[in-house]
Structures are given as C-alpha cells and as structure tokens.
C-alpha cells in the first residue's frame, strides 16, 4: 500500500458549491420562481458569477450586486459559497425577497444533506477500499506463507535424506578414523616389539652362517684326517646333504628375516604413527609402501604395472593418502581375484597430481556408479566389505579439494582417477 493510493480523498478537503449542488436540484426551484412571475432567477458562486439561471430579464454575463432585486446567501460548512439572486419582474419587492429567502433555505438544506451524504459516502468508500486493500495484503501474506510451508514440506524429505546422508558419512569417517588410529597404534607397537628381536635374529643368522662355514670346514678337515674311521658315520648322518642344506636353510632364514624387517618398516611407514600432521609427501613412495603392506593380499598371479611420473611433493597427511591408495588397491584386488592386471599411473598435470588405477576387472555397472561412494554401499558379500572403503577415499580426496572419479574402460575394467591439487595441502584436513 503506497501513500498515493492512500490520499485519494481527504476527510475535510474543501468543497465548492458545484460539488454539492447540480442543475437537476436547482432547476425546479428556479423554474417555480419564474413561473411565479420572477423576471430572472440565478444561483451565483462566491464571485457573483451565475452558475444556473432562468428567466427573461437577463442581466450582463457577470452581473453586479445592484442588478439584483433580492439576494440570499448559500452556506457550505457555515461559509458563504454563493447566493440566490432574483430580478423581480412582475413580483413585488417584498415577495421577491421572501422568494429568494425560501429558495435559499431549500438549497441550504439540500447542500447540507448532499454534503453529509458525500462525506459519509466518501469515508465509507474509503474504509471499504482500505479494508479491501488490507484484505488483499493479508491474502498475499497468507499465500506467501502457504507457499513457504508447501516448499518446506516438499523439500523436507530431500533435506532429511541429505542430513541422514551427512550423518552416515560422519559416522563412516568416525569408524574409519577409529580403525586407523587403532591399526596405527597396533602397527607401531608390533613394529617396535618385532624390530629388536628381528634385528638380532638377522644378525645372529648371519653370524650363525659364518660359524656353520667354520664348522663345516672343520668337519671336512677331520674327514680328510680320519677318512676310514669317520666315513661310515658320515654316511649315516648324511652330512653331505646336511651341510649343503644347512647353508640354504640359513639363506632362506636370512631372506625371511629381511622380509620381516621390510614389512615392519612398511607397516610403520604406512601407519605414519610418527607423523599424524601434514608434511611434504612423496606420493610415488607412499604407493610403494602401501603395496608393500598389502603384499599378502595381492593375488598371486596379479601383474601390477607402475608407471610413475615425476611428481612434486604433496603437502598433506601421508597416512590419509596411504589410506586412499590402500582402499583403491583393495577394491581392485577384490574386483578380480584371478588374472588381475593393474596399471598404476601417476602424473603431474597443470595444478593437479593425477593418480590412475586402471584394472581389468568387471568394471562398475552404470546403475550403481553414482552410489559406490555412498557410505555402507557395498556389492560384496556380508563380511567381505564394509562399504566404507571408497567413501573414506572420496572424503579424504574431496577434503583436499580434489576429485575422485570412476569410469569403465572400453576394453573392460574400471579406471579410478584421483586428482589432487598440488596446493591442496593448506586445507587438507579431513572434514
């Protein structure tokens, strides 16, 4: 409601004689006067200009006061606004005065009634209009709020879904973080405990091999000196075979111990228990480390091709990055237990580091491609997968401002492409 429509009419606005009187109301009175013998009858405004007139003795267009034989004032709200003026004609001077008075009385009464009617009608109209405007306005507000509520109702379901999705993700992250923390602690503890014994086992094994060599040469020496006496016993104890096999056994033990040391080191590196914060990460190295940790899970006949490019260091949390790689590798291993061919490519392109895992598995069916990053979504049998691996990978990567996408290769198999911004480390906290 603006103010201009408000002031269509103003209570108290000044009115003129022509506003409250018209010809239809004056004519009968003037007519009667003329019929009664008045020479000329007129109603003039406050300047003396005739508004309505009748008769034969017409004065000048703008008559002066002396032209009239009788005049009587007309009042509007108590103010003179005009007059009834007569030229007497055949009527007596006194009769003319009485007639002017009568006509003025009648007109004043009409004016008063008209004014009252106008004022009440005007204010009534105004009140009705204003009420109507107010109704329109309140109707508009109602419509608006109804729309708001309808929108709310419509979006409620979607928003509930969004929220529950968020909750699921948060829950998944929590589980994963807990798991990572306990795995990390366990790994660190185990690594620490194993490190010492395996170190002296390895060094002792090496010593033992040297000692065994010495003992073997001592045995050979004795055999040469007492060939006849010891020969039978030598044969009985199958010392030729024993000596040959002992060296081999020790070699195997040494390489086994070395492998244990490597695994422990990988485990320690992978869990990154020592640095949970951000640092400059060599992504190629982390991929190798993760492959090391997973060595037992890699299917025996799998062929893994690494095509590493030169990468800048990535500012971020190495443990998180290993987690991404681990989850994607596991996904590939589980996708094709036999005859897996996995190509891991890394490259530095523009502002991004790209890591591509390209397998020859069954690929990702179109109808679930949108869902594989959802928490607890899994195609594996119960107990096989948590449905969290790809979710966690997704969350970590997007947390760094990166993207993770999946595509099917034309020749079969899936390609997971991870893109991480080189500068992403600054906001690399897990959301």
């Amino acid at each position: 409601m603006n103010l201009t429509t408000e002031i269509e009419f103003l209570v108290g606005a000044e009115k003129r004689l022509t506003d409250v009187l018209d010809e239809a109301q004056t004519q009968p009175l003037l007519n009667s006067a003329v019929k009664a013998g008045v020479g000329f009858a007129a109603i003039v405004d406050d300047r003396g200009v005739p508004l309505w007139s009748l008769g034969t003795h017409q004065p000048l267009p703008i008559p002066v006061e002396e032209d009239w034989d009788a005049t009587c004032r007309l009042l509007l709200e108590g103010e003179p606004v005009g007059a009834v003026c007569l030229i007497r004609g055949q009527v007596s001077s006194k009769g003319c005065g009485i007639m002017a008075h009568l006509i003025a009385e009648a007109l004043n009464s009409i004016i008063n009634n008209n004014l009252k009617r106008m004022l009440t009608t005007e204010i009534h109209t105004r009140v009705v209009n204003q009420s109507y405007d107010e109704l329109l306005e309140s109707n508009r507000r109602l419509t608006e709020s109804e729309k708001k509520y309808r929108d709310l109702a419509e979006t409620l379901e979607r928003r509930v879904q969004e929220r529950s999705g968020e909750l699921k993700r948060a829950y998944a992250r929590l589980i994963q973080q807990e798991k990572m923390a306990s795995v990390g602690q366990l790994a660190a503890g185990v690594a620490h405990e194993i490190n010492n014994p395996i170190s002296y086992i390895l060094s002792n094994l090496n010593m033992l091999r040297r000692y065994l060599g010495k003992m073997a040469s001592m045995l050979e020496h004795y055999r040469e000196l007492h060939a006849s006496a010891g020969s039978e016993k030598w044969q009985e104890l199958k010392l030729d075979m024993v000596l040959g096999d002992a060296g081999e056994l020790l070699d195997q033990n040494v390489s086994g111990a070395e492998k244990i040391i490597q695994i422990v080191s990988d485990l320690k590196g992978f869990s990154h228990v020592d640095d949970m914060g951000e640092s400059a990460v060599d992504i190629n190295l982390e991929i190798d480390r993760t492959l090391g940790v997973l060595s037992r899970e890699i299917p025996g006949d799998a062929r893994i091709v690494k095509e590493y490019g030169d990468l800048p260091t990535f500012e971020g949390n190495a443990a998180q990055l290993c987690q991404v790689v681990l989850n994607l590798l596991r996904n590939a291993f589980q996708a094709r237990p036999r005859g897996l061919q996995l190509v891991i490519t890394t490259e530095h392109k523009g502002e991004n580091i790209r890591i591509r895992f390209s397998d020859n598995g069954p690929g990702v069916p179109d109808d679930i491609r949108n869902r594989i990053f959802e928490p607890f979504f899994t195609t594996r049998d119960v107990g096989q997968g948590t449905g969290l691996g790809l979710t966690v990978a997704y969350d970590i990567v997007t947390g760094y401002g990166g993207t993770i996408e999946v595509e099917n290769r034309r020749q079969g198999g899936a390609v997971f492409l991870v893109q991480l911004p080189v500068t992403g480390g600054t906001h690399g906290q897990l959301r």
């Binding site: 103010l3 009252k116 009140v127």
Partner: protein, 220 residues
C-alpha cells in the same frame, strides 16, 4: 494541514478529538458549539450516528481572518471511538494539525484509554505523522463521576511526558474550553513556526486565539 493556497490566501487546518469509545468527544464539540458565539464558526455537523455512537465523525468549523487577508478555516473533527472503526479514524487523522486526546477518567476505563492512546500513536504513524511532534493535549473527562482515577495520579503519570493535561466534565461544560484553547495555542505555535502567521500575516497568537474563542458570556 488540509490546504494552504497562497494565491487564494486561504489556509485550512484540521484538529482532531481522539479517544476511546464513549469518552465524550462529541460532547466536547457540542459544548464548544454551545459555549462559543455563532460568529466566526459554522454549525456543528453530526454525521449519521447509531444509538448516539459516532460512526463517521462530527465536524465543527471555525473561520478566522488574518490582517494580511489570509482566511483561515479551522475544522475540528471527532473520530469514532469504537475499536471497529479504525479505518475511519485513520482517514480522519490524515493531515491533522493537532490532536486532543479525550480520556475517560473512570478506573474501569484505564485499559481502554491506554489502548486508544496506543492506537493514536500507531495511526499517526500510519498517516505519516509523529506523536512526538504533533501538537497534543490530553483531557481527562467525566470528573463528575465516581470511581475515577485521582487527579494526582493522572498528573503523576502524565507530567513527565510534558503533554498538557486537563480535568473536565464535558457534559457540564467544564474544562472543555481550556482543552480547546490549549490545543489551539499549541497548534498556532506549530503552524506559526512554518508559515509565519505572525511575521507574514500579522496574526499573532493572541489575535488567533481571541478570534477562535469568543465566549458567549463575553458577547452578552
């Protein structure tokens, strides 16, 4: 102000008697009409009423003339007090130059007075006027009745506001002229500061008030 026409030398002012239902607004105008000479004023026009309750408004016009030839018409209106006629109150309040708030002194009417005053404040805002600046006087009517709020209490409440308060019994004609004169006085001050009534038109406050308020007793 309803109208100011410099060429026509004409100024039309509006005063409004506001207040809760049955507080005596129309009675105030009736008394003004009876207490003042017919000269310089018109007749009281009472628009349709229903059971003696104002539905539209009442109007009492006054006519003044400044030495400069400026004709001033001062229209005094009442509003309908009943809550349901709010739209009419807004309409009447439009372009008011001064407001007399007629309160009912009876204790039982305290809430109604309060609500009506709040309504006045709201509606003034609605028509673009400010209760802080518009000339305003308050009249506590019906002092002749029992069960009324004591004068000291009224004054204690109202004095801090700086708004002049009058005790009246409109039915018996007491306090009516005082209220009107004070309202006219304040309105004159307000108009004079903007339109130079004294400076440009030679109409000082004394002249203004004496033209407006011509008691019958002075005349006889």
């Amino acid at each position: 102000m309803i109208e100011y026409d410099e060429c026509e030398k004409r100024m039309v002012l509006k005063l409004v008697y506001y207040g809760p239902a049955l507080s005596g607004k129309t009675t105030n105008l009736l008394q003004l009409h009876d207490l003042l000479q017919p000269e310089g004023r018109g007749d009281l026009m009472v628009l349709d009423t229903k059971d003696d309750r104002t539905i539209f408004f009442d109007l009492l016009p006054f006519f003044l003339m400044a030495p400069s030839g400026l004709r001033i018409k001062l229209k005094v209106y009442t509003v309908p007090g009943q809550v349901k006629h709010d739209a009419t109150r807004k309409a009447v309040l439009q372009r008011a130059d001064g407001v007399a708030f007629i309160a009912d002194s009876q204790r039982s009417e305290i809430t109604n007075n309060f609500n009506s005053f709040q309504n006045l404040e709201k509606n003034l805002g609605f028509v673009g006027l400010d209760i802080e600046h518009i000339p305003l006087v308050v009249q506590f009517n019906k002092r002749d009745l029992g069960g009324i709020v004591a004068e000291e209490e009224v004054r204690r409440v109202w004095n801090p506001s700086g708004i002049p308060v009058f005790m009246s019994s409109a039915l018996h004609g007491t306090g009516v002229l005082e209220t009107f004169v004070q309202l006219a006085d304040r309105t004159y001050e307000h108009i004079d500061s903007r339109y130079g009534l004294a400076g440009n038109h030679g109409l000082d406050k004394h002249m203004f008030l004496s033209q407006l308020v011509r008691r019958r007793s002075d005349y006889s």
